[in-house]
């Protein structure tokens, strides 16, 4: 009981601190009227660029601030009118045997084995009967090769995609693609074809800011989605409801705005919408041509009719407006704000660009409740760090895909069809440290530890274990490439296994061969670690002393100003390192000192916010 007064005092103190001084921007909360030209400044332009893009350098922010707010927002939202310096196309490693090759899915191996025996040539390798060695071995080798190579290639795509986010002069095009990837969450883990995943993102770039109906019709025909939510398995007489359910629950309406009967009937309407090789194909024979009723609409409906029936529901505009608002502005959306946005969204025939223009111009967007309220996702954190540093390429180390993945957001691999829950779920003690360690490695790349294991070893050990990997490595080094075990199984590390049989050997050997081929097939053409000079950055800004240096760095990297006590700590540390108030920007040691201080700034809780 003695603790209670102390706690009450602490809460009272915190509450008064949280209230803060009253300002114009507090009262702007939930005010959707547009901000005036004389309220437009660099701070607000920085906020806009952070949310509608991935942040930028002070120079980029100044350029935006010099425009009228309407023009600045329009430049970002209507990116089709915005010239864009050509971005480098993705240079594939040629993972698949041919452009129209259809990669095997989870659980397909049995069928492939049978087909290969009957027709030969499964998975792009020729398999022939042979009594002297396991004749299916090349097929198993190829299966694992395709699996590993596709996953590895996808990480190269992620690197390339991050570079688009870094360099594009249409940052919202890429930011909105990330939003739609989260919304229509599709995972390469199941799709197993990086090309389909890339095509899905092309759709987002093409239609992301247009009328939602067009985008939704595209998603219904999207090859990655057809694999991911089993659309290709949805056929007349045996409907698969996976896509029909998610299109209503997650993509448009939300739970409670449709019935189980709607799901069943919608699944029938989508029957026969599948794939021919890797392309969308509507099969007349697999489609259920009967009458259906979905959301009150009756007839011989197909998928397009379902889309129209859905978009007639007022719940659709509400659901989508709320989701866009939560993602781009802040998580605690007021019902009135959502209702107002939903009404205009519906009137505009679901024009996503028009909705975003309204949001990005609103006083609510620039209110205290919104600025610095968003916890950056790992991808946002990494790309915005690089943008604020003024980099012109994504560094090869730390490796983009796996670093973002370790922090919880591996591109093309959302945790499930609901996407990334975001917000506070990005942060736990481990991911916070990983974020701080990411900053460390950007600033001090020489401290990046060399990998303990090669990629090859990592992949193979993960599947067959360290002992068998070592044995297979020895066997491969000895030049023995036969597909049959030549050493005794005991020697091969199967000693613990009483009934070790050649199947076990063959499978492990296929993992080894497949991984080796995959590592050889992937182009490892990554740039070096980040190159930048904080001394040049500060010299360019006219900075001469430690106070100004800390102010420039915090102003450049933090959307929220640091506490006075934190600022004093940063200045004090830089002063101690430099031995005084003056900064010698010609001294290479100063670079190290500045990086130490910047690492502290990038480790602050404020840096996780934008």
């Amino acid at each position: 009981m003695a603790r209670l007064p102390v706690i009450a005092a602490a809460i009272a103190a915190s509450a008064s601190l949280l209230a803060g001084p009253a300002s114009a921007t507090t009262s702007w909360q939930d005010d959707l009227s547009p901000i005036a030209a004389d309220e437009w400044n660099a701070e607000r332009a920085a906020h806009l660029l952070a949310r509608a893009g991935f942040g930028g350098t002070p120079e980029e922010i100044e350029k935006l601030a010099a425009m009228e707010p309407e023009a600045a927002v329009r430049k970002l939202v209507r990116w089709q009118d915005q010239p864009n310096a050509p971005l480098a196309p993705f240079l594939p490693s040629q993972v698949f045997p041919s452009d129209d090759f259809v990669p095997p899915l989870d659980g397909d191996l049995e069928r492939i084995v049978f087909r290969s025996i009957l027709f030969r040539g499964g998975l792009g390798v020729d398999v022939r009967w042979n009594f002297s060695e396991p004749f299916l071995q090349p097929l198993f080798d190829q299966f694992f090769y395709l699996l590993f190579a596709n996953f590895a290639e996808m990480t190269r795509v992620a690197h390339w995609q991050a570079e688009r986010m870094l360099l594009s002069e249409r940052p919202l095009e890429e930011k909105l693609a990330l939003f739609w990837h989260d919304h229509f969450a599709t995972s390469n883990e199941k799709v197993r074809d990086y090309r389909k995943m890339m095509r899905q993102w092309d759709l987002y770039r093409e239609k992301g800011n247009g009328h939602f109906r067009e985008l939704l019709l595209g998603i219904c025909r999207d090859p990655a989605m057809l694999v991911y939510l089993d659309g290709q398995r949805n056929v007349r007489g045996e409907p698969n409801e996976n896509f029909a359910r998610e299109i209503m629950e997650l993509f448009t309406l939300g739970v409670g705005n449709y019935t189980e009967a709607d799901v069943k009937e919608a699944a029938r309407a989508f029957t026969g919408w599948g794939l021919d090789d890797n392309d969308f194909d509507r099969s007349f024979w697999r489609h259920d041509h009967g009458r259906k009723t979905v959301l009150g609409r009756t007839g011989r409906l197909d998928g397009d009719d379902v889309v129209d029936a859905i978009l007639e529901q007022p719940a659709a505009a509400r659901f989508l407006a709320a989701k866009l608002y939560r993602w781009f502005v802040r998580e605690d959306a007021s019902p009135e704000t959502v209702e107002a946005l939903a009404a205009s969204f519906r009137e505009s025939d679901y024009d996503v660009g028009a909705l975003l223009e309204r949001v990005f111009l609103s006083r609510d967007f620039y209110s205290d409740a919104s600025v610095g309220a968003h916890i950056q996702s790992p991808v946002e954190l990494m790309v915005s760090t690089y943008r604020k540093l003024g980099l012109r390429e994504i560094p090869g180390a730390p490796y983009f895909a796996t670093t973002a993945g370790a922090m919880g957001e591996q591109l093309y691999m959302p945790p499930n069809v609901a996407g990334w829950p975001g917000g506070r779920t990005w942060i736990n003690p481990s991911t916070l440290m990983l974020r701080q360690n990411f900053a460390r490695h950007v600033l001090f790349p020489q401290e990046i530890p060399p990998p303990e294991k090669s990629l090859m070893e990592t992949v193979v050990v993960a599947v067959v274990g360290p002992d068998i990997y070592e044995q297979m490595k020895r066997m491969a080094a000895a030049g023995d490439r036969s597909h049959a075990p030549t050493m005794s199984m005991q020697d091969m590390g199967f000693a613990r296994v009483q009934e070790a049989n050649s199947e076990a050997f063959n499978l492990a050997w296929a993992v080894y061969n497949g991984a080796e081929k995959a590592v050889g097939a992937i182009r490892f053409d990554f740039p070096p670690p980040a190159r930048f000079s904080l001394r040049e950055m500060l010299a360019g800004a006219g900075v001469r002393d430690v106070d100004a240096a800390v102010d420039h760095l915090t102003g450049r990297f933090l959307r929220l100003p640091p506490r006075q006590s934190d600022r004093r700590a940063l200045v004090g540390h830089l002063r101690e390192l430099s031995g005084g108030d003056d900064l010698d920007l010609d001294d290479p040691q100063t670079e190290k000192h500045l990086r130490e201080v910047l690492h502290l700034i990038l480790s602050m809780p404020e840096y996780q916010l934008t």
Binding site: I11, S14, N428, D467, N501, E503, E576, L600, Q608
Partner: protein, 404 residues
Amino acid sequence: MTAVTRRDLIRAGLAGAVGAALPPLWRGTALAAESPGPVLVVVELAGGNDGLNTIVPYRDDAYHRARPEIGLASEALLRVDDHFGFHPRLLGLRNLWEQQRVAIVHGCGYPNPTRSHFSAMAWWHTAVPGAAEPFGWLGRMADARWPDGRPDTLVNVASQESLAVRSARHAPIVFRDPRAFARLGDPAAGEIYDAMTRSRPGGETTANLAFLRDIARTAERSAATVREATARYETPIRYGSDAATLAVDLRNVAALLDADFPARVYYTSMSGFDTHAAQPSSQQLLLMYLGDALEAFFADVDRIGRGDEVLVLVFTEFGRRVAENQSGGTDHGTATPIWLLGRGVRPGFHGAFPSLADLDAGDLRMTTDFRRVYASVLSEWMGVGDVAGLLRGSFQPLGLRAAS
């Protein structure tokens, strides 16, 4: 302007640490009074373990007929009653069974099962099959039990946070290698960072900033505890081969229990169970590792006096098909047994074994919804009141806890 030295700051930080000892806003205040409760350790078998070759219905001719190549001979099994035998390599499990510490629920599943590893695992994680629930059942458990948040409640031994522990109000501790659970950097700057982090909260303009400060403040301490507890832990108990990641992970769990770490859930995972080909050789190794690690873990927690508190749940995302395939393996199937281990369990078999004669297109028909097992864990051990709300539906607990 007066110079502030590092030493000043550290001193200020230490003063601030007194402030940090006050419970933050989002945290409960009744922790100190709370009595130690059960600790749930989950062992996830990733890939879909073949339940039929794990808990074998050796009396059933249909079993032997369906599996001419990979079926286990009755005489080789560790027979525990007139109907069932454990896989010969599950000596560890058999020893725990003889100590009356094992409950096995047959035929667990859910309606309209998926064969996708990814979807199936996500559904076991969320306990809401067929839907896209953003939080895990254990994350929701923590939120239901401690709505104001309780630090260090969920531990996930993994390189990435599992959906099962994802929570709206709790930040799970996630690590695989405890030594790597550390903030890198220059020691001098580290002292500045610690002082900044420990200093009294204030000036948080948004709730998310207050949340981040709170995590930052506790992260260093949690990580240090994890690193130190696991590094200094010494035990005479042998956990079996270190090639088995589970042995290492469970040893680390025991180390944290020994250090009185306040977690109530430890989530671990062991992979390799996707035995499409050559199943006998790989599965027997995995089951040996599993059984040995579990037996050692219980011996260890007994040794440190925590044996009464620990409940272990072992599950996999699906069983495998009844008939073997042409590669000496099995393909993705449906129903699967769940194991509950601990002193408090009502030992023995529970639920009906699925019929091998009445199959659903070659698959076992589930006899017990897995959420009934979850419901038992939640209500009979973890003290959750509104289990139906948590599981998004009403599931009758199975009465798996022995009357004490």
